[in-house]
């Protein structure tokens, strides 16, 4: 993958698959502090210690038997972050949720471009009417926050039915692409 926003999408799909109802996404790019960090946090079903270990090292072997690989997304993200001289972290608790973070220096030369993260978030929000998203992006000059929770509250009981109406899609687009 060649864009950070594609890795974010991949992490968010993990959260969706884990039945998260709230997914928080942060991207901080602080040149002044020489620091970039990207985080996806969810309140999905979480992972046991054993699953975390397997997920991060999918080709781990024990005795002569090769354990079944369970996925490539997390190892792929970890590898990207480490190739940017960064630090990958994962914290998860069964029944509580999961937080995945990658942090790396702003001035490293190996980081992929961010890509169109706003557009990625926009389509995630639209395509998941039952899930709330909190998206925060900040750098030295600007901070942007987008939160679907007050939106859902304003729309009331039929929020999910209205979510993909032409009017709502336009509203989401205006808010996120501003």
């Amino acid at each position: 993958m060649y864009e950070l926003s594609l890795f974010v999408l991949d992490l968010v799909q993990n959260s969706i698959t884990a039945d998260a109802k709230l997914i928080k996404i942060w991207l901080f790019e602080f040149e002044s502090e020489n620091f970039v960090t990207v985080t996806v946090a969810d309140n999905g079903k979480g992972m046991s210690e054993e699953v975390i270990i397997k997920a991060i090292d999918p080709f781990m072997t024990s005795k002569s038997e090769r354990k079944k690989k369970i996925g490539l997304g997390l190892p792929f993200f970890k590898q990207l972050i480490e190739s940017c001289e960064g630090k990958f972290r994962i914290k998860s608790k069964s029944g509580i949720g999961t937080v995945v973070t990658g942090s790396f220096p702003y001035n490293n030369i190996d980081q992929p471009p961010v890509g169109d993260l706003e557009d990625t978030i926009l389509n995630l929000v639209i395509a998941n009417p039952g899930i709330d998203f909190l998206y925060t992006r900040a750098n030295d000059k600007n901070k942007k926050v987008f939160d679907t929770r007050p939106v859902r509250k304003m729309l009331g009981n039929d929020a999910e039915l209205m979510w993909q109406s032409a009017e709502m899609i336009k509203w989401f687009r205006n808010e996120l692409k501003r």
């Binding site: 993958m1 594609l6 999408l9 991949d10 799909q13 969706i16 698959t17 996925g71 490539l72 997304g73 792929f76 557009d119 990625t120 389509n123 995630l124 639209i126 395509a127 998941n128 009417p129 987008f146 939160d147 007050p150 939106v151 304003m154 729309l155 009331g156 039929d158 039915l161 209205m162 993909q164 109406s165 032409a166 009017e167 709502m168 899609i169 509203w171 205006n174 808010e175």
Partner: protein, 130 residues
């Protein structure tokens, strides 16, 4: 966020929902895009974006959503189109074919055979006379 704009949107949208609920002939369509790691690698993000855009342009009453991998890695990007109890799977999708797919399958109710993938549970498995 311009939350005050949502009041007017809510009024408009709830009128539409009531109208839809009253019309029993309105059928339910759902499109699910496979968004696992391999799907993303093969361009599933651009596919779901295009489906959302074209569904809007064609004013379709369809739910567009995403899921983890369908397990059809060799024909990504993949989507499944559900209509009532039926399911048709399409693979090797490209953004430029999405309009034709939605027009053929949802507007006209025909299967776009050139991109259809026969998988278990897919109506595409039924004899062609179907």
């Amino acid at each position: 966020m311009k939350l005050d704009e949502l009041k007017a949107i809510r009024e408009k949208a709830s009128a539409k929902i009531e109208k839809r609920n009253a019309d029993a002939s309105q059928s339910e369509w759902k499109i699910v895009v496979s968004m696992g790691t391999s799907g993303i690698l093969y361009g599933a993000r651009e596919i779901i974006k295009k489906i959302i855009e074209e569904a809007e342009n064609l004013e379709l009453n369809v739910l567009v959503t995403q899921s983890g991998s369908f397990g059809l890695d060799d024909i990504e990007p993949v989507c499944a189109i559900y209509h009532n109890d039926e399911k048709v799977v399409y693979g090797k999708l490209k953004p430029e074919m999405i309009r034709e797919l939605l027009e053929t399958q949802i507007v006209n109710g025909n299967i776009l055979t050139s991109y259809r993938v026969a998988v278990p549970g897919d109506v595409g498995n039924k004899p062609a006379s179907e």
